[in-house]
Symmetry: C2
Subunit: 191 residues, 2 copies
DNA sequence: AACGTAGTACTACAAATGGAGTGGTGTCAA
DNA sequence: TTGACACCACTCCATTTGTAGTACTACGTT
């Protein structure tokens, strides 16, 4: 088992690309080798088995999904009203759209989690932590609404992103923006 | 190419099971043979290639996903208020939970659609038709709200179901019911 | 500066797996 | 008798895996 952390991370990032492109079942050691541009057999040296690779990829994705520092800082300025929430939601959709590979990989992992208890446990923790962090952030910064508000936005925005990434022909981009606006208007109380 | 329609449908239903259990990439002709309990090679005789099998499975799922006649009839009685919508949403979540195999297969197909234009076209049509039908039904029966109402409910309910089926540890069943109630309360105007 | 060692990169091999497609034979019904 | 289908068997092909073996690099020691 190799210990070179930089290479291990590079392999995990390659694994995420493979997940998005080929699906969970297409995530073979050799495919990761090819994607990472390393000699065949390398991934075998870094991960004990597919379960190992999948769970580590699951945690790795969340490291990339966090909003960057600038976004977080920006969101601390100005009034804490509904318009602010609308802005945050548009940013969210944009940000995830820009990292669509990660989001698609995460969907693949969710489906794979129905078959792999170890992966399911890891993802459950990550998602729970993510939802809780969103709730705490929202309430902590004084944005309008309660925990249910945040969770309902979470639900609506997630499927909106799924729709946008997997079947972009169902809703136009303009309609999707209207739906983001509409979701905030109806779910978030006027602050 | 065989013409026996009963057997073709049985193979498609087996394909849906395989999709949910093994993922899109696991949908091989031989796996369908095994799932359907027919001799190896049979599926090869009924479908020209994997693309053919996947797209036909995509249309087949929607035949199973329609609410049954009793449900539709029941929903035409009584007042057209917000409580009625709440009931419909709980029914929806229940109904899809009971056919989780179909829903998971559909998710697999969505992801596969990012790689297969033919499948994407088929699914886009199906989903569009489904959303439109929901909107028309809602407005047509005089339930409160507009098209945006229906589409926001569609978004929230879909991800709620994803959460429930793929990572059931994130939200408790009780919390999920509260979220259904909360979604209707906030998204649907008091009728 | 030379040496030894540990960890890593790379190559190559051998084996196993599993799936696709097809030809042939049996069966049933019109 | 004929045509369509069910079933079976076989071959070919592509892919993956794990690991053994070799080469390289960095670093600490003498």
């Amino acid at each position: 088992m190799r210990q070179n952390q930089a290479r291990r991370m590079a392999l995990l990032d390659a694994a995420i690309d493979v997940l998005a492109r080929e699906g969970a079942r297409g995530l073979t050691f050799r495919a990761v080798d090819a994607q990472a541009g390393v000699p065949g057999g390398t991934t075998s040296n870094y991960f004990a088995n597919r379960d190992d690779l999948l769970t580590q990829a699951g945690t790795r994705i969340y490291e990339h999904m966090q909003p960057d520092v600038a976004t977080m800082a920006k969101s601390l300025e100005g009034p804490r009203d509904r318009e602010r929430v609308t802005g945050l939601m548009h940013d969210l959709v944009e940000r995830i759209g820009a990292y669509s590979v990660g989001y698609l990989a995460l969907l693949e992992l969710r489906l794979e989690a129905t078959r792999r208890p170890a992966l399911r446990a890891v993802l459950t923790e990550q998602v729970k932590a993510n939802v809780d962090a969103n709730v705490e952030y929202h309430l902590g910064t004084g944005l309008p609404g309660d925990a249910t508000t945040v969770e309902l936005l979470y639900l609506a925005m997630n499927w909106l992103i799924v729709e946008r990434l997997t079947l972009p022909g169902v809703f136009t981009e303009a309609r999707l923006r209207e739906l983001v606006d509409g979701a905030v208007e109806r779910i978030v109380p006027a602050g």
